[in-house]
């Protein structure tokens, strides 16, 4: 047993020797899913995006020493909370970025509040991060369920898809997604003709899809996420639903999901994203660099958000000349963010980063000219319309 103690102590010392001691340096912790469902849309790509932000900022020339560490939270909130605590307490991490999976993000958010540090979330969807759970050091950068539901719902009704039918994952997240979208649809003049709830996680959607098909609705809203969305789209394609004139609306879907599904299956799907690599020359150039490092795959909006948020943070460090959380947050909220990837944006009092969102439709195989050429732009949703109004969130920071 003595030996074990010694061995453990030795192990501990080696592990702690790895933590940096420098005072002027910045340490960025990229915490996300590196082995599970969200590994493609966040994972290593977020580390690459953060590194690109550090390079583009020119940290080395400005005398700011930036180090990036990363870890896998396995989509488990307790693992996320454990790593976040350890990073702050022991490893001298100054800012945590990314963190997909709402439960993990909310857990990190609480640690962050307690430790008085900065949390730049790009990967998670929960509106609570800028609502009831909003914290002084948290910025929710890229998207949230409200923006996605709102963007897709409103734009589709405007485009003439009036009658909606929901396929909803039967748990709190699915319910709230359905509720948000229903509100938008009815406010924009559409109607909800019905909805069906499928068990979570589900594998066989056939009976639900047949109900949706026979409802005669113009559009089937997929109020689910991850594997459920992918499976329901696959099965909808097998039933020939989109080919028969009903549209599918994905309420939480990423370009990596479309990539995995293939255009044959995903064609015609309408979705909202904060970023697409083929928007303009700047995004194309940036994405080119990104995919050179990532074995050819294009960045998702989560990666873009990580880049954009890290860059804004580093600008704040340069401007305030220190690492004081309050000063940095004040600077980041006062000054607009500006970068080639996500364009201009502002950070609202509740920590919501405001920027334009885009409504896309997935191309048919005939329309696509090559790999990753997946989306056509249907509409640009201005920031003010895209996100939940400040006063509706119930964030205690907003007086």
């Amino acid at each position: 047993m003595k030996l074990k103690t010694l061995a453990l102590a030795a192990l501990a010392t080696t592990l702690m020797a790895g933590s940096a001691m420098a005072q002027t340096a910045i340490k960025i912790g990229v915490l996300n899913d590196r082995s599970g469902t969200y590994a493609d849309l966040s994972g290593e790509g977020s580390v690459v995006a953060a590194r690109m932000a550090v390079e583009d900022f020119g940290a080395a020339d400005k005398g700011i020493d930036v180090e990036i560490v990363s870890a896998d939270h396995q989509n488990k909130p307790d693992v996320a909370s454990n790593i976040a605590r350890q990073w702050y307490d022991q490893d001298g991490v100054d800012v945590i970025v990314d963190v997909p999976t709402s439960s993990a993000a909310l857990a990190v958010n609480e640690i962050n509040r307690e430790k008085g540090k900065i949390f730049l979330n790009s990967g998670a969807a929960s509106t609570d991060l800028t609502g009831t759970a909003c914290a002084p050091g948290t910025i929710h950068w890229t998207y949230d369920t409200y923006a996605l539901a709102n963007g897709t719902g409103k734009a589709m009704v405007d485009a003439g898809y009036k009658d909606w039918f929901f396929l909803t994952a039967d748990y709190a997240f699915g319910h709230s997604l359905e509720e948000n979208t229903t509100k938008v649809v009815t406010e924009s003049g559409g109607t909800v003709v019905g909805s069906v709830r499928h068990p979570f996680p589900g594998t066989d959607f056939s009976s639900f899809l047949l109900q949706a098909q026979s409802s005669g609705a113009d559009v089937i809203g997929l109020a689910n996420a991850g594997g459920d969305t992918v499976n329901s789209i696959k099965q909808a394609s097998e039933f020939g639903i989109t080919q028969s004139g009903q549209a599918l609306a994905g309420l939480l879907i990423f370009i990596t999901d479309v990539h995995a599904l293939g255009l044959e299956t995903a064609q015609g799907l309408v979705l909202t994203e904060a970023f697409y690599w083929d928007l303009n020359d700047d995004t194309r150039a940036w994405s080119e660099r990104f995919s050179a490092e990532m074995g050819g795959s294009k960045p998702t909006m989560v990666h873009a958000g990580v880049y954009s948020s890290v860059l804004h943070y580093l600008n704040a460090v340069e401007a305030t000349g220190g690492k004081d959380t309050e000063a940095l947050m004040a600077w980041m909220k006062e000054n607009p963010s500006e970068d080639p990837v996500m364009g201009t944006g502002t950070v609202r009092a509740d920590g919501r980063h405001m920027h334009d969102m885009y409504l896309f439709q997935v191309k048919t195989p005939a329309e696509s000219t090559g790999p990753w050429d997946y989306y056509k732009l249907l509409a640009t949703i201005p920031a003010e319309e895209a996100f939940r109004p400040l006063e509706e969130g119930g964030c205690p920071l907003v007086e």
Binding site: D72, V79, R85, S103, A172
Partner: protein, 326 residues
Amino acid sequence: MTSDTQTHYESAAEALPIGTPRHHVVIFGVLLAFLIVAPLVLYPVFLMKVLCFALFASALNLLLGFGGLLSFGHAAFFGSASYVSAHAAKVWGLTPELAILAGTAAAAVLGLVIGALAIRRQGIYFAMVTLAFAQMVFFFALQAPFTGGEDGIQAVPRGHLFGLLNLASDMTLYFVVVAIVFGGLLAIYRIIHSPFGQVLKAIRDNEPRAVSLGYKVNRYKLAVFVMSATLAGLAGATKALVFQLASLTDVYWTMSGEVVLMTLIGGMGTIFGPLVGATVIVAMQNYFAGLGAWVTILQGIIFVVSVLLFREGIVGVVARWIKKPL
């Protein structure tokens, strides 16, 4: 190499008189001393996580290693206790000790209900019944309004122990957790070495003979099932306060699998095996987090290696070397 001389160590161990072998006292002493010194060197939150899982794995080991019952649904007790204790601390505003007790009690009741039905079947059917119940608990956790769905219960206050001791400090909480877990481990040790524990082992090794000796086998099985569920609940309730959250991870079936893995790697049917197993698995999850997908692969490799090379688990092999039951 020495296989001839040691084949029967186990039966020799079980023939030990009721009483505590000296080396067990020494190990418990060293363990306690280590736990007191450890937070000076190691990160307390990590240690608390290891401790919670050590208690959880030991609770499963009580059922699996000494009762011979493989439950594949222990996450149900661990998770439901963590939900109840988180809810009690956050919404009802109970003090931490009451919140933990509430969680533990909930797990005990759940253990009684599930156990009463599950022990009617044996072997793989028993495992499947427990898994099925655990899935029911998972769906309940997913749907019930108070559990917060996939977000779980977040920002649980750690509160003041007995209304006095502020647990917000990791150090203070650490020693409370040490006390709880060490108490739990001693309780398990006591159960194993009581006459009740002797009967359990008899049932494990030869159930028909135990029946023919006049023991009401099902009562014993139910009793050990409830004890195991209660202790698993104690671990879950404590964990909820440590991490200040209760989430679906705690009730998901992979959690049941993980704790079986910890028990097997450490050494099923040994007293200290689950502690070692929990330390190995949690340390891997924690310190290898930077390796990404490799963590799960490493876990798999370690499991395969341990099954192939040392089926008795790490502590089981050590016990064979030193020819003493651990």
